[in-house]
Each structure stands twice: as structure tokens, then as C-alpha cells.
């Protein structure tokens, strides 16, 4: 290899590194961060789907990686799925540990609960919760499949949009099974 060829390869490698490391990460800023939904839209997670109602905005980057984050005004709802094999009480404790910085109020989960039938557990922040903590966390489980819905935003806004949030939670469907609202009402 001549000195010129070596220099050319060196420049080519440097340009490629800068392109991938600094240039490409800027590309998403050229497009919209969110998409406004004009109709109810189902989004896939690994083993479940959630339907975000019309009028909400969906974070494109998060939804593209199967972790939908929807917002309505200042309210943000993120939906993520998980797998849990053990008792539901431990599941709720683990989920709370991961999501909250201050001790939340945990639901009273029976020792025997293990996801054999559809379960839904609501975790709410404690009295001293900081503003960065979620306003509500819902853990939905059937068998080993788990969906965690995390709601953030100002208290007043979350309260005002509670029906819309409930609609999102109710739309969660684990695998090909019936949706939560059908099971819950059954």
C-alpha cells in the first residue's frame, strides 16, 4: 500500500465513523418526533397489542422499537411488555421498584395470584412522591406475559384524562387472547 492509499483509507474510515457516530444520529431530527393519530391505531409489542385512541400523539422512535409511548397534552402513557414466571405479588413489587423513586402504594396482591387468569394491578404514588414519579402504573398479567402501563404527567391533567387513559389500558390485548375489557367485564 502506498502512502497515498494509506492516507485515503484513513480518511475513509474516519469519515465513516463520523457519519455513523455523529451524522446518522441526527437524521431523526429532520423528521417529526411524533405522529398525531386520526383514528384508533393498534401498536404491536413483543407478545401483545395496545390500541391508542384517535387524538393522541405517538412517539415514532419508541413505537418503532415496540415500546409505544403516547401523549395527550402533558399526559404521557408508555406501554412495555415483560415476562414473569413467579408470584404476582413479587411481580408488582419488582415493577414498583423499577419505576418509582419514592415508595408507592402497592395493591394488596393475594399470595396465590400467579397469572393463571387475567390480572390487573394498579400502583399509585405515595404521599411524598416527587413530580418525576409516575402518577399511575398498571401491571397486567396473564400466564407469563406481562404488560406494564406507566402514566406520567401533572396530577390534574392525569385526572382529567382518566377515561382516555382507562381506554388505552382496556385496549391491551395479550397475544391472541381476548382484550382486557372483555375479560374484566366477564
Amino acid at each position: 500500500m502506498t502512502q497515498f492509499q494509506r492516507a485515503s483509507w484513513l480518511v475513509a474510515v474516519l469519515v465513516t465513523l463520523v457519519t455513523f457516530g455523529a451524522g446518522i444520529p441526527q437524521l431523526p431530527t429532520l423528521g417529526p418526533d411524533t405522529r398525531h393519530l386520526s383514528s384508533d391505531t393498534a401498536f404491536s409489542l413483543t407478545s401483545s397489542t395496545v390500541t391508542i385512541p384517535a387524538g393522541w400523539d405517538i412517539d415514532i422512535a419508541a413505537a418503532s422499537q415496540r415500546q409505544p409511548v403516547a401523549s395527550l397534552g402533558d399526559v404521557r402513557v408508555s406501554v412495555t411488555d415483560a415476562i414473569w414466571l413467579g408470584a404476582s405479588r413479587r411481580l408488582v413489587e419488582h415493577a414498583a421498584d423499577l419505576v418509582f423513586t419514592d415508595a408507592p402504594v402497592l395493591p394488596d396482591v393475594p399470595e396465590t395470584a400467579d397469572g393463571a387468569s387475567l390480572e390487573q394491578w394498579d400502583i399509585v404514588p405515595g404521599a411524598d412522591a416527587t413530580a418525576s414519579d409516575p402518577r399511575r402504573v398498571v401491571v397486567i398479567r396473564r400466564d407469563a406475559s406481562v404488560i406494564v402501563v406507566i402514566v406520567r404527567g401533572p396530577d390534574a391533567d392525569v385526572a382529567a384524562e382518566s377515561d382516555a387513559i382507562d381506554a388505552v389500558i382496556a385496549s391491551v390485548s395479550i397475544e391472541a387472547g381476548p382484550s382486557l375489557d372483555v375479560e374484566a367485564s366477564a
Binding site: 423528521g31 405522529r35 405517538i58 422512535a61 415476562i83 414466571l85
Partner: protein, 368 residues
């Protein structure tokens, strides 16, 4: 082949070479970026991160040993292999893959649609970013050592070592991701399952295989000795990227499809390896047929060195039958010394070539 004494791609302390600085700075920068990206997960799930690091050692040792097996005609130096692994583990992951993967999948979501990005993002983006990152390692090692490729196998081996480093970091990341996925229920078990699945069960179709195929393609383009080298080189690069894309695609969603892939890919790689062997053999015979290369060594000894491990084994068995078990060591030494001589002649190391030649002449011409 352990008898080979000459090693390729020794990466020493060479601050006068810009390529050496590129290797060092990019690996350091990539390591910082990879640690920065992994740190939140590692602090949330320290047991998963630690378990992953513990498994990394046998993973590296295992692949190190496995990648010695195809080194029949050349020996990658320890420092060269370590440098290639460092490039894959740090620069390729930290500078190329981690920043670009999410961004490009996000752009797909913006331009093509969220569903398309969910289904095809990893299949289309990962081969582009990750294979580019690893392939750059081949070029950087050549720049850092100021050496050139001798045969396409050189590039395939360097690419494979870059793949080992890449998969080592990615496996730690997967261990942390799976801990997120099961909310940290049992970090040791979940990380172990990930390592068994990725390193053992699906190891034969991992990053090492993809980047070895791409390295082979780069090598064929650069130093291929047969006709149609452009088409074959591009084809091999496409093969590596295509296998990676297919592995990530929804086409292999079912388990049986994964196992079918797992069953077919080793045969494809066997065919690639066979081709690379013939290229190495051509390099060997062409180099030693240069005027003066062999000195007084009878050319018949060169033709007796088989292109593949199997051919050599068969020939050695014949030697043992004719001359007794003690001849096996001598035959292996002869094959290695002739290969060392070809390497010394090819890279213009006249002093070592003269030393090897005279040693061979003295032995071969004095023996019956």
C-alpha cells in the same frame, strides 16, 4: 497450524503510524460510548451485568480457540487478534452500532411507517451499521500494522475476530435487556439463558460468521487470485449482510425456520472456507514458484502440501505408513516451514526467507 513461526498483523506500540492512533483512539472512544450506553442498565441490574461479564471470558476463550482451527496457512498474532476484538467490542459497538441503529430505525418509522420499522427495522438496519462497523476493523488493523492482505483468509480471520469482540459486548447488552424484559426476576438465570442461546445454540450463526463472510468478500476484492473476483467479493459481502438481515427478519419468526437456518448456514460457510483454502493454496504455490524462492529445495515438497486440512491429513497418513510414526512430526514441520518461507518471500523479508530456505535446504537435501 501451531508449527508456523511467522505471525501476521502484530500490533505493537507504533505512535508514528496514524492508523495505530486511529485504532487506539477509536477503541477508547468507543469503549467510553459503550459504557455510557450500558451503564444505566448495568446499575439497574448489576447482577445481570456482572453475570454477563463473567460469561464473556469463556466466550472469548472459546472463540479464540475455534478461530485457531482455520489458521492453516497463516497465524494471526495475539496482539492482532486482540486489537481486532477490541475494535469489534468498542469502536464498532460504541461509535457505529449503538448511535446509528436506533436512529435509522426511527427514520424508518418516520418515512416508511411504524409497522414496517417494527417488522423490518432490525433486519435492514443492523446489517448496514453493525457489519460496516466490524468491517472497518479489518482496514484499521491493516493501517495500524502497515501490513497488507496476503490472501482473502487474512481478511476473513480479522473480520471474525472483530465479530468476536462485537458479540461479546452485544451479549452483555442482551443480558441487561432480558433483565429489563423480565423485570429483574432472576438475573442470573435470565443472563445464563441468553448466553446459552446466543453463544452455544446459535453460536454457529452469530456475528463471527457474518463478519467472516464479509471479511472474505473484502479479501477476495483486494487480493483474490481467480477470475470473477469482483462478483464473488461483492457476493460474499452480500452473503454476510444477507445472513445477518435474514436472522433478524420476521421471516424466521418460527422456531423451525430458525433451526432450518441453523442447519443450512454451516454448509454455506463450509463452501466459503473451501474456496478460501484454494485461494491460500494458490498464493502458496504461486509465491514459491517465483524465481529463486525455493533455492535448492525440490519443488516436489511444495506440491505435497495439501490445500486443506483433510488433504494434508491423508498425505501425512501416507508418510507415516511409509516412514513410520516419527515422520509425522517432520512432515508437519516441513509444511509449516514452507508456509513460513512463502510468507517471508511474499512480504519481502529477505533475511528470514534466506534463513528458512537454507535451513530447509540443509535438512531436505541431507535426508534420504
Amino acid at each position: 497450524m501451531r508449527e508456523l513461526t511467522r505471525h501476521r498483523f502484530e500490533v505493537g506500540f507504533a505512535p508514528k503510524r496514524a492508523g495505530w492512533w486511529l485504532l487506539v483512539v477509536a477503541c477508547a472512544g468507543g469503549a467510553a460510548m459503550a459504557v455510557w450506553a450500558l451503564l444505566p442498565g448495568a446499575t439497574t441490574f448489576p447482577v445481570a451485568a456482572f453475570t454477563g461479564l463473567v460469561f464473556t471470558a469463556p466466550l472469548l476463550v472459546g472463540w479464540w480457540w475455534l478461530l485457531r482451527l482455520p489458521q492453516l496457512w497463516s497465524r494471526i498474532s495475539r496482539s492482532g487478534a486482540v486489537a481486532a476484538m477490541a475494535w469489534g467490542a468498542f469502536a464498532a459497538v460504541g461509535i457505529v452500532a449503538l448511535p446509528a441503529n436506533g436512529a435509522l430505525i426511527g427514520v424508518m418509522g418516520q418515512r416508511v411507517g411504524i409497522e414496517a420499522a417494527q417488522n423490518w427495522g432490525a433486519a435492514l438496519v443492523a446489517p448496514l451499521t453493525e457489519e460496516t462497523g466490524k468491517a472497518l476493523g479489518i482496514v484499521v488493523i491493516l493501517l495500524a500494522t502497515s501490513q497488507r492482505l496476503r490472501t482473502p483468509m487474512d481478511a476473513a480471520l480479522l473480520g471474525a475476530f472483530c465479530g468476536v469482540g462485537f458479540t461479546a459486548t452485544e451479549d452483555v447488552l442482551y443480558g441487561i435487556n432480558i433483565a429489563y424484559l423480565n423485570l429483574g426476576e432472576n438475573e442470573v438465570v435470565s443472563t445464563t439463558v441468553i448466553y446459552v442461546a446466543r453463544a452455544v445454540l446459535f453460536g454457529p450463526v452469530s456475528h463471527i460468521v457474518f463478519s467472516a463472510a464479509i471479511g472474505a468478500g473484502i479479501g477476495v476484492l483486494a487480493v483474490g487470485r481467480r477470475g470473477g473476483r469482483f462478483a464473488l467479493g461483492v457476493g460474499l459481502i452480500g452473503l454476510g449482510a444477507g445472513l445477518h438481515g435474514l436472522w433478524n427478519s420476521p421471516l424466521l419468526e418460527s422456531l423451525w425456520a430458525r433451526f432450518a437456518y441453523l442447519a443450512v448456514v454451516p454448509f454455506i460457510m463450509w463452501a466459503v472456507l473451501r474456496y478460501l483454502r484454494t485461494e491460500e493454496h494458490r498464493w502458496f504455490t504461486e509465491t514459491l514458484s517465483r524465481p529463486g524462492a525455493l533455492g535448492a529445495i525440490p519443488p516436489v515438497y511444495v506440491t505435497a502440501v495439501g490445500a486443506t486440512w483433510w488433504k494434508r491429513r491423508a498425505y501425512r497418513a501416507g508418510v507415516v505408513r511409509s516412514f513410520g510414526a516419527g515422520a509425522l512430526v517432520a512432515q508437519r514441520a516441513l509444511e509449516a516451514e514452507l508456509t513460513d518461507l512463502a510468507d517471508a518471500v511474499d512480504v519481502g523479508d529477505s533475511a528470514d526467507a534466506a534463513r528458512l530456505r537454507s535451513a530447509l535446504e540443509a535438512r531436505l537435501l541431507s535426508e534420504p
